[in-house]
Amino acid sequence: MTVEDTIRTKLTAAFAPEALSVENDSARHAGHAHLTHHLKTQGRGPADATGQSHFNVTIVADAFKGLGRVARQRLVYDALKDELAGPVHALAVKAKAPGE
């Protein structure tokens, strides 16, 4: 399963979202110094770049109703903490409640 699929599966399980989009933005960052550095901190080299490191997530779910931006994004980060500690270098999040 790709990282992208894992993100989708975990967010679906955690939030039963009304809408979910997971966009892999890794290609735009391939070979960038910061990514090379990220791999290095994990004891890996540029050849280990997976093309699965940068993602844009847009999610609409009831769970976000009445919560501020920080609380919403924390919920998303919590659901994906294993990925953030591992292969995912950057995760842009838009979390909305239905009707927003």
């Binding site: 110094a33 910061h34 931006r69 920080v70 994004q73 924390r74 980060y77 903490k81 953030l84 500690a85 950057a90 995760l91 842009a92 999040v93 838009k94």
Partner: protein, 112 residues
């Protein structure tokens, strides 16, 4: 609070109205997300303290735990965590960031 790294972070956000924990410095950001936050604050004419986490591995790891937020950059205003790049960008686009900073009494210079 007995964690020395947390104490250093706390004293930094106590001593400065606006602090950005970022990769690189405000004049030389080394990550696109950090650059975005620095650019937005610059655009609003906010004088802020930058903390380059790349130069300080203890802070780099400590700030994630301190804030309970796994990514960098992180913006603090008057000791309060406001958000990372996505949140700051969204608040800037909707005009909320300017209103929030004014409400907090942060001095904004007239944007050039």
């Amino acid at each position: 609070m007995s964690n020395p790294v947390f104490e250093r972070i706390q004293s930094t956000i106590d001593a400065n109205d606006v602090v950005v924990f970022m990769k690189g410095t405000q004049s030389f950001p080394q990550c696109g997300f950090s650059a975005t936050v620095a650019k937005i604050l610059g655009h609003l004419g906010v004088d802020f303290q930058d903390v380059n986490v790349l130069a300080d591995p203890e802070i780099r790891n400590g700030i994630k735990e301190f804030t309970n937020w796994p990514t960098i950059p992180q913006l603090y205003v008057k000791g309060e965590f406001v958000g990372g790049c996505d949140i700051i960008r969204e608040m800037f686009e909707t005009g909320e960031l300017r209103a929030f900073l004014e409400e907090k009494g942060v001095k904004l210079e007239q944007a050039a």
